[in-house]
Symmetry: C2
Subunit: 470 residues, 2 copies
Amino acid sequence: MNTTATAPLSPAPDDEIEHVALDEDYVLTPAFVEKVVDAADDGDGMKLRSLLEDLHPADVADLMGFLTAEHRGVVTVWLPADLLAETLPELDDGIREEVLERVPHLTLAEALQELDSDDAAAVVEDLEDDQREKVLAAMPEVDRAAIESSLGYAEDSAGRLMQREVMAAPAFWNVGDTIDHIRKQGEELPELFFDIYVVDPVNRPVGGVAISQLLRAPRTTALTEIMDPVNEITVDQDQEEVAYIFEKYHLISAPVIDSAGRLVGQITVDDIVNIIQEENREDILRLAGVSDEDRGSSVPEIVRGRVPWLAINLGTAVLGASVISFFGATIQQIVALAVLMPIVSAIGGNAGTQALTVTVRALAMRELNSSNANRTFWRELAVGLANGLLLAPLIGLAAGFWSGDWRIGAVIASSMVLNLMVAASVGVLTPLTLSRLKFDPAVSSAVFVTATTDFFGFLIFLGLATLVLL
Amino acid sequence: MNTTATAPLSPAPDDEIEHVALDEDYVLTPAFVEKVVDAADDGDGMKLRSLLEDLHPADVADLMGFLTAEHRGVVTVWLPADLLAETLPELDDGIREEVLERVPHLTLAEALQELDSDDAAAVVEDLEDDQREKVLAAMPEVDRAAIESSLGYAEDSAGRLMQREVMAAPAFWNVGDTIDHIRKQGEELPELFFDIYVVDPVNRPVGGVAISQLLRAPRTTALTEIMDPVNEITVDQDQEEVAYIFEKYHLISAPVIDSAGRLVGQITVDDIVNIIQEENREDILRLAGVSDEDRGSSVPEIVRGRVPWLAINLGTAVLGASVISFFGATIQQIVALAVLMPIVSAIGGNAGTQALTVTVRALAMRELNSSNANRTFWRELAVGLANGLLLAPLIGLAAGFWSGDWRIGAVIASSMVLNLMVAASVGVLTPLTLSRLKFDPAVSSAVFVTATTDFFGFLIFLGLATLVLL
């Protein structure tokens, strides 16, 4: 939870041109970015600071993404320390690692104390081992303990995601007790909170009260009278599951409990929005065979993430080629087949990718499980058949006309219908099988699907042609 | 904003097998879905009702997605009226339309009064014209006016998304005034709210106070002392822009203003989460050439959404084939070329899709604009070259060895390097150009990219081969 989040710099009126950093949609203007670049090039630190100091941390992070590594270095030096602290959790991982290398460990230790425990832990996580030790050693005991406890939970777990600051109230309190407590203990509570968790004597949540409900109720009302059941998150739950629960039930915050059921923290929806975007990003990129990369990634890093998929694809393409080579004699007699065969495989690949993408998305949204897997399969097969029956006559006529041999038209038309049904089957079954085996259904599905449609596309078309035409 | 959202049915302990609808991750169990199907098949309405009545509306919506249209019909009849009302806003569009056709208009008119204005409007929007008139006529004037006003805003606009219920306070109030007002007027306020908007005498927001801050402050503190600047949303802003602002600044709620700057409603983050998922879904599906479809779509609906893309792809595949046909004489002399050419085009297509997907995602996240477009292009080109230099020797050696002609190896290796650079260029430039022309960069990009890499893959490979080998 970023506690300064409610006060970004609003877009300025038109007459204050000098300070217009954002356009009307709260996006950084290229003109502003250019101003920063110019100031960095001139080494004009005062100018840089005056440009940056009024920005919201999220906008500084955005700015960093638009700069080169060199310019980021200059900006990092001139950023006010408190703004730097609040910017760190907003940065892309790659950029954050790079920025962290330039910040002296004492500055960093001080900056981290400004952040909530979850944000501070997220930053410390990205430090190199030796820098991490130095930074933690320079922090007060209580902050260090909070960060170390957070890092004790698995990456991507609810424990890592939660903030330890939470507003809990014993079940015997009434509304007045609670409001008085908040007013007195305000400093120790999270800066922003949305629900009060009602706990039993051993600190297990028994319900939750939205603070708008608390405000509405008379002071003498018991908390237990106005509380609702809460969705408890356990510390070891995966962040993707947590996001699913928040999204499904429209939660604003939820209590996190340890294995004994005791309240140990809370997760708020603004962190969930980030997770949802992260997971979506992963799904989209994985479907395209791109491992994690971001704006800060260097060319070698990007190549390392992409070339393995291309290499696998090279292997499957060779497999497809071996099918063609098997029919070399047929092609030598009828060169038209070499011209037409990529059409069959291309349409198959596209239709397979359509079925695959729909299935991967349904799995990610938990809209697909054993209750409707069969029905989904048959529906996709019917779609494949229908697509085939619509498109095959077109290509059949065109190919027959072009080649002057109507049998070639018939061969390509029937191959296309068959390959579209192969595409539908493999498009559904690949992610379903991966998911059942507890693998990520998005990873490598696309390569496998297009490999299959290429393979069968060539095999069916050239096979039928050999049977019919020779 | 779904006001019952904080109280879903928790997963039950193991011994209450009869009522276990959810597994430990709050996902409906296939066993429960089967029970519902059995009860629907038996026409056992009492059993159905007992299974359904304790479910959270989000779980009923999930259940609907797992059922066939026929079973959905039976469930709709037996669903308690208030649960039906709260379930309607949660349903996929296709399923909602289907369910709405089965609900008598008086039941519906009554159900809609239970909902917040934004949810009610979302449901009414999906009604057929004649049913809509009947339903609105059967509602009290005040609810009808709210819904009609909401529907007066453009689809996907902030006006459509906002709820009209909002907590505003004049700038001269202090904390005590505000709390007393909330306690007195509680009924007229939104059931859940997170920020109080401070307004000037003509109802223009001048700031916002998080209610956790309100609770913390002494009763005599003026609101203007503790308020923060707010991010104002205008009624005609597109929901995608609204989602961007919420996400970037970690907002929980934001005031919506009309063209005169007056406060007319608020948008809360839980609605934003839905929008984000909707936009992500669209991006993923569009990249694969799938128009909008959901679990409720019939086979003809799905085919209508997918076949146009396949037809376009058929056209581009014919274009690629025409390149091959141009080199028919070369292929007739060296059949090995027909075997190898799909390898060059396949790797190009994959690399192009990688570059495309990364670019589309960066555009969607507003991480890419004229500040860094040039740099992104050159980076992708460098990645293309590096990928080519890594993979080309592999395929060159393999092809040379297999064909027994090292010149063929050299031709395929150099073609691959060139085509991977074509792929990188077209992968970046296609979405960038579409975006600059104000088109959705995801739509049709993939078809264009693979068409280009096929075309140039065949052209470069067969062209070089003709030059070198003949």
